[in-house]
Symmetry: C2
Subunit: 213 residues, 2 copies
């Protein structure tokens, strides 16, 4: 256990068009891999009953939010309806320093912002097997208005066009296969030298001390 | 099947100190993953009975070898006893273009040369759990002279010190665990956007054509 704690954590950015199933994959990763935590967002909207500051969201005023934007304290931010939402850089960086992994399930615009701020993040784009399959899946959800579905369909091509900016891509044709692939990427990235060099320290130090003799 | 063939292959560089077990891991990868081929080396030594040119080695004269070095036709090369050995760049690049993966089981000096020539290769360094464990393993092989073992032991610290130049590191404490980790890295790298963009082409093209409408 002590070995893992010495490792730097990873920031995993998971994006893809609406309806591709990235929420399901994100939930499964959080359930099955205890090393991952979900990033707590900042928002200007009022807390709903039961929501706790610092747990569900960091609740801030519009003025405080704008100050955070200007000070570069947000990895990404966006407006949803009349409220602002953002990802606080300090909280993510602190977790990573402590060796925790952080998952961001985020739209493409947010994902691209995060990659610019933190170029050593691991970015995965979930693709549908085809655009037609995505349209079918969105329509089949049955939980959204026709208007909302049409908006998502209009956005999807522009989102998919951003895929080449990501590091990895996973096709979600069969959910089980997609999960195994995502899990494999996460396990491989845990072995990235850039992150686990401290963990390797003992063997390398031992080797270097022998060189000096 | 056709999807895979459109993908660019990867060049996997596998290094680590002598005795760490990278040969065993390399053999298993070639056995279990049909997408990998071993790179055929160039050598100036004479063919042994049964060895075929272009299959076991490319057999060349010393003059031809030196010409290849000067022309930059080798990804790496080294002298072993009185002969020269090298990895021909053209053969590796041709396989990768065709979508095949190429495995190079190579010492650290060679690995560093290859990384300079082909920076988009995937590099994995196999580490022993400790230097002491490596020494024990080398001595326990029972196939080498005491002199050879001592030489390998002297080289190991310098080799391990090069680990930070590699992209991934795998600790070979338990062979089965090390194999699963290496296999996971390979599977993840098959999903790297930089290599599989052509495979994704249909979905992205379809999305882009919808943007134009």
């Amino acid at each position: 256990m002590e070995m893992r704690e010495k490792c730097k954590g990873m920031l995993l950015v998971l994006s893809g068009p609406s309806g591709v199933g990235k929420g399901t994959l994100a939930k499964r990763l959080l359930q099955e891999d205890g090393s991952f935590a979900f990033s707590v967002s900042v928002t200007t909207r009022a807390p709903r009953p039961g929501e706790r500051d610092g747990v569900d969201y960091f609740f801030v005023t519009e003025e405080e939010f704008q100050r955070m934007v200007r000070a570069g304290e947000l990895l990404e931010y966006a407006a949803v309806h009349t409220a602002h939402y953002g990802t606080p850089r300090a909280a993510v960086e602190e977790r990573i320093r402590q060796g925790q992994n952080v998952l961001l399930d985020i739209d493409v615009q947010g994902g691209l912002q995060v990659m610019r701020c933190m170029p050593d993040c691991v970015s995965v784009f979930i693709l549908p097997p085809s655009y037609t399959a995505l349209v079918r899946r969105l329509a089949g959800r049955g939980t959204e208005t026709r208007e909302a579905i049409e908006k998502r369909m209009r956005n999807a091509p522009g989102e998919i066009a951003c895929m080449p900016s990501y590091e990895y891509t996973v096709i979600n044709d069969d959910l089980e296969t997609a999960w195994r692939t995502l899990h494999g990427i996460v396990e491989a990235e845990k072995r990235a030298v850039s992150r686990c060099l401290p963990e390797m320290g003992d063997t390398v130090e031992e080797a270097l001390s022998l060189l000096d003799e």
